[in-house]
């Protein structure tokens, strides 16, 4: 008889088998009943966790100076320790982010009144691109909304 497949997160026999297809790349994850329930079998983070688990490098090489979280902890949990971990593990997370998020820079909102110039410029570029797309697609309602956003961002970027 063949060996039962083991859970990707613990040593139990896996009974839940998942395949995820993202842009043609197939990822397979095997989970036991309790891990599947705990993690939420459709949570994309489950795949990410499994990715991190199957990656090599056993000894902790990085520790967050702010909260003591290590790269091994991340491999186990798939979650970070504190906001500063994002800086500590920036290099390691870069590759993961391009896999789960496709893009590596934020172009959305910022806390009220704290939008920095770099952020404003990226957002302006994105809004201009979306506006052109909307016009090309004859979606004038969205184009009008984006035109207002572009005007507002341009105003904010002009030194007063």
């Amino acid at each position: 008889m063949s060996q039962p497949i083991k859970c990707s997160l613990c040593e139990e026999a896996a009974t839940v088998h998942l395949s995820q297809v993202v842009h043609g790349n197939v990822t397979k994850v095997h989970l036991c009943e309790s891990c599947a329930q705990k993690g939420g079998a459709t949570d994309p983070a489950v795949f990410q966790l499994a990715d991190a688990l199957t990656a090599a490098s056993p000894a902790p090489t990085l520790t967050c100076p702010k909260c003591g979280f290590t790269d091994i902890d991340f491999r186990k949990r798939g979650r970070l320790g504190c906001p500063s971990c994002w800086e500590t593990f920036a290099d390691a997370l870069g590759g993961l982010l391009s896999k789960v998020q496709h893009e590596a820079a934020h172009v959305g909102r910022a806390p009220a009144g704290t939008l920095p110039a770099g952020q404003l410029r990226r957002r302006l570029d994105a809004a201009r691109r979306e506006m052109e797309k909307a016009i090309a697609g004859e979606d004038y309602e969205s184009a009008a909304r984006l035109r207002d956003e572009v005007a507002e961002l341009e105003k904010q970027l002009t030194p007063s």
Binding site: A45, D73, L80, P83, S84, W86, A105, P116
Partner: protein
């Protein structure tokens, strides 16, 4: 007792206080936010989690949106009350499972903020029907108000910093709860699910992650949170929901046309069964209530009865049935009580007639 108040209060998801729609049951916006300089809840020590909870709850409680609302600390609630909150989608299973989480819920139950879930703050806004823009604007205002009183973890390059890389950036998860009996009956749901997955949208069951699609109800949401503006995320989801709703209507019309009497018979049988059953399991009730909702959408039952069907879907869940009975019930007891509630609610329903839509 606060959870009892929540159950007793009329709100738009159960009492038609807002616009109700065919196909789309509700629109939801979720924003993940964290306090600067504090460890995420999963890594924080007990006293830190307490401090996080106190600071967040204090800030939320001061907002006009939550005036005369509810502050519920999970550690102070019994199992059944926490299960009721999960069944209402006011808190996640994850929050309900821990002791240090709290939920701040607006009086009208459209806004609920989870504190100490995976992130320090999970702002959620839910509206009945399909109202992506309106729901977003409420969330945006709440976010701005919170950002005014709390220092949120934010980086110029990565946006809002979250515990999990799948939420970083906008922290935005926008979703629609859709009722797709036509696509399910026609056997097209797998195909639709695949198409949505391939274009970056997740399809989940009625109670979110890892649940099956009882009652032909699915939650469709964006996956990517980084590198796209909120506007782009909403537009992408909105375009797909519009498309899915169209496909659902095509499938329904095709079924009604091709099946004729068989189509009406299916809906009429469900009404008959729900009206006379003495024992109803939760999934049985959901699947037959799905037929009644379809009947209301198609003109086979009066449209103004649809909100009652929606209410039964929510109130027929196990914890709701027990809360209403005021006691713990075993599985048979629940099935019996559920059947009684459904019989009572449907007793003056008119008969199912052939579709007009």
């Amino acid at each position: 007792m606060s959870v009892e108040d929540i159950l007793a209060a009329e709100n738009e998801l159960t009492h038609l206080l807002g616009a109700q729609q065919a196909v789309v049951l509700s629109t939801r916006i979720r924003l993940a936010r964290n306090l600067e300089g504090m460890p995420f809840p999963g890594w924080a020590k007990v006293p830190q989690r307490k401090e996080i909870s106190d600071r967040c709850v204090e800030a939320l409680d001061a907002l006009p949106k939550f005036r005369r609302g509810h502050v519920l600390r999970m550690g102070e609630l019994g199992d059944r009350d926490r299960a009721v909150l999960v069944e209402r989608h006011l808190v996640s299973k994850e929050l309900a499972a821990g002791k240090s989480g709290a939920a701040v819920i607006s009086r009208d139950q459209t806004c609920s903020v989870m504190v100490n879930e995976e992130d320090h703050l999970r702002i959620q806004v839910v509206k009945a029907g399909w109202h992506l823009r309106g729901t977003w604007h409420i969330a945006e205002q709440l976010d701005d108000a919170l950002g005014g009183t709390l220092k949120l973890a934010f980086s110029d390059r990565l946006g809002y910093l979250t515990a999990c890389p799948t939420n970083v950036g906008t922290g935005l998860r926008a979703s629609a709860m859709v009722h797709l009996p036509g696509l399910c009956l026609a056997g097209h749901m797998d195909k639709v699910s695949r198409a949505l997955n391939q274009d970056g949208l997740a399809v989940r069951g009625w109670l979110g992650e890892g649940t099956e699609a009882a009652g032909n109800i699915f939650q469709i949401s964006n996956q990517q949170t980084l590198g796209l503006s909120e506007e782009a995320i909403l537009k992408h989801l909105g375009g797909w929901i519009k498309n899915v709703v169209e496909q659902e209507w095509n499938a329904r019309r095709k079924l009604a046309h091709e099946e004729g009497e068989k189509f009406v018979d299916r809906l009429a049988r469900s009404l008959g069964l729900l009206r006379s059953a003495r024992l109803l399991t939760s999934s049985e009730a959901m699947n037959m209530l799905s037929h009644l909702r379809l009947a209301c959408d198609m003109g086979c039952l009066p449209e103004e009865r649809r909100h009652l069907v929606d209410r039964l879907m929510i109130e027929g869940q196990p914890a709701h049935v027990q809360a209403r009975a005021g006691q713990e019930l075993d599985s048979d007891g629940r099935d019996s009580r559920r059947a009684a509630v459904v019989r009572e609610a449907l007793k003056d329903f008119p008969e199912v007639v052939p579709p007009t839509a």
